[in-house]
């Protein structure tokens, strides 16, 4: 998102300027507000750590499957080698892969959890992401835990070729086994949620919430514009658009996400 980049164009000062509405904001206030512009409501990107702070009960999160490491099964070569890219992403995000999985509590309810970080190679799904999501479904199935996933992904990870594409099949297979137990799975789509992750386990959640204005879709808007040769309608592929078209249950601003999720899980496990 162009706007977002602009929003972070004064990265170290006391103030920042919202890239969307151009309002000058106190950095502290902005961060206390979970990076939502208090003026225009634009939801800026959060790190996994910020997500956990926003949503979960204090200190309840325990990461799992940290032992999984990315390999380079195709020995993928382009301008930059895949292994270098992974290394750089690790340094940038402080994470080891594009998804952090684990267990934690939300309003006292024990959940299996996945948080994507778009900063790690576009939140893309390669073998490790697929394996982590699969293990999470298996863990949740075995321990009868509801699942919450916070999605942010550009799709399958090119650099692992067909291994990445097949993670879609693998994760859905695990999901289907999980869902047979009638255990609830809620997904929160954040900006952006597109490609192979959307076209597999993410969109099969029982309830789909989305952040305001988040980009959601299968194909990215650029690809669509190039293919169809026409400009996209206004608001196309936003969370609000997706809700209107029947694919999102609710668009929930950050300030209400925790409460809404607690309510939802309460319904889905208490029936």
């Amino acid at each position: 998102m162009k706007e977002e980049k602009k929003g972070f164009s004064v990265p170290d000062g006391l103030f920042i300027r919202c890239g969307v509405c151009k309002t000058i904001l106190f950095r502290k206030e902005f961060e206390k507000n979970f990076k939502v512009c208090p003026h225009c409501g634009f939801h800026y990107r959060l790190s996994v750590k910020e997500r956990i702070d926003l949503l979960l009960d204090n200190n309840s999160f325990q990461e799992k499957f940290t032992e999984l490491r990315t390999a380079d099964p195709l020995s993928f070569r382009c301008l930059k080698n895949y292994s270098e890219l992974v290394e750089k992403s690790e340094q940038k995000t402080g994470l080891r892969e594009a998804v952090v999985t684990g267990e934690g509590k939300l309003g006292g309810i024990s959940l299996a959890l996945a948080f994507f970080d778009f900063g790690f190679i576009g939140g893309s799904m390669g073998s490790v992401v697929g394996e982590k999501i699969t293990r999470l479904f298996e863990l949740a199935e075995a321990s009868k835990k509801p699942i919450l996933m916070v999605i942010a992904s550009g799709g399958a990870r090119m650099q692992e070729g067909m291994f990445s594409l097949f993670q879609m099949a693998k994760t859905v297979t695990a999901l289907k086994k999980y869902q047979r137990r009638n255990l609830p799975y809620v997904a929160l789509f954040t900006n952006p949620t597109t490609g192979g992750v959307t076209a597999s386990f993410a969109s099969l959640a029982d309830i789909i919430l989305a952040e305001p204005q988040a980009l959601i879709g299968f194909a990215g808007p650029k690809v669509i514009e190039q293919t169809t040769g026409s400009r996209l309608p206004k608001g196309f592929q936003t969370a609000e658009f997706l809700m209107k078209h029947g694919f999102v249950d609710l668009v929930v601003p950050r300030s209400e996400q925790r409460d809404t999720l607690i309510k939802l899980f309460d319904y889905l496990i208490g029936g």
Binding site: F166, V172, T173, K177, T198, V223, I224
Partner: protein, 319 residues
């Protein structure tokens, strides 16, 4: 129909044209006959030479060859009594996906495949084999029928990808694909996919979460088009051949990586030049696979399929 030649087939083209010009003469002398025989031998040698040294991107070009046999050709050549079934019962009948009941020798099956057109007019009608959500939802309906009436499912893959368009997004392309996958993961009948041409990412995957996945020798299957990959990584579409190499998208690469179950070989010259032997081999593969799969009880079948897909992926474990 006039033959269409690929960029690396110029020598082949020359020989073939010489042959037909000789064979087309009103009076063919014994001298001509001799020449033709020699030319035919040359042609065989040249086909073998070219087709045994194909680069990944050349295979992509073959997979996209306009005269390559389409799903409908495989259906007509391999099966009898095809009854096409239409519609998703929700929104439309996507011409980019064909499906219906068919008989393989004596076996009754359900067949579903992407369907490209044979010429420009047909391709426009069939959206170049790129399905909209209603195509995937038609497939889901047919899969459910297959499950209800105990018909093995055979799918043919041949798509550049799911269509990236406004309507497709509005009607939930991602959801339509994901639901195909969910349905196939525990469909209680044997399932086999044959990649016959293009295996374009999620659009192809939607039909290939099966017990057995085969590719024709010159079919490809890729997470992204070589062109798309080239633009992202090299900022140049012309680097597609490099991307094709890096992506490991050929049948040989995929077999070596353990991602497909087998290759259906094509004669030198490709399936677009010699479709008959390819139909035959495809039929053999289908029959022998079905034979194996039909021996399994329902539960074993599903468990094995789930285990197969469970182990996809390469990573290391432990710090």
């Amino acid at each position: 129909m006039r033959k269409i030649y690929l960029s690396f087939e110029s020598k082949i083209k020359k020989i073939e044209e010489e042959i037909s010009s000789l064979a087309g003469k009103s009076k063919i002398t014994p001298e001509d006959e001799k020449k033709i025989l020699i030319l035919k031998n040359n042609l065989q040698a040249e086909l073998k030479k070219v087709y045994s040294n194909l680069s990944p991107f050349q295979r992509v070009e073959i997979a996209r060859h306009p005269q390559r046999p389409k799903t409908i050709d495989f259906i007509q050549a391999i099966f009898s009594d095809f009854v096409e079934l239409h519609g998703d019962r929700l929104f439309g009948d996507d011409p980019a996906v064909i499906g219906g009941l068919a008989t393989l020798e004596k076996l009754k099956v359900m067949v579903i495949g992407h369907l490209k057109g044979k010429d420009t007019r047909e391709n426009i009608e069939r959206n170049f084999g790129m399905p909209h959500p209603e195509g995937y939802r038609k497939a889901q309906r047919l899969m459910k029928l297959a499950a209800r009436f105990n018909l093995p499912l055979i799918t043919f893959l041949d798509t550049p990808g799911a269509y990236p368009g406004v309507g497709a997004e509005e009607r939930g392309q991602a959801w339509a694909i994901a639901e195909c996958l969910a349905l196939m993961s525990d469909l209680p009948v044997p399932t086999i996919s044959i990649g016959i041409g293009e295996g374009g990412s999620g659009g192809a995957l939607a039909f290939s979460l099966t017990d057995r996945l085969y590719l024709l020798e010159n079919a490809y299957y890729s997470v992204i088009t070589p062109e798309g990959c080239a633009v992202i990584l090299w900022k140049e579409k012309s680097k597609a051949p490099l991307a094709a190499e890096a992506l490991k998208l050929t049948s040989y690469d995929l077999l070596e990586l353990g991602l497909i179950d087998g290759i259906i070989s094509e004669p030198p010259g490709g399936a677009h030049r010699f479709p008959e032997p390819v139909y035959e081999k495809t039929k053999e593969v289908l029959l022998s696979s079905l034979n194996e799969l039909l021996k399994l009880d329902r539960e074993t079948l599903i468990t094995k399929r789930q285990e197969k897909w469970r182990q996809m992926g390469v990573f290391t474990e432990g710090d």
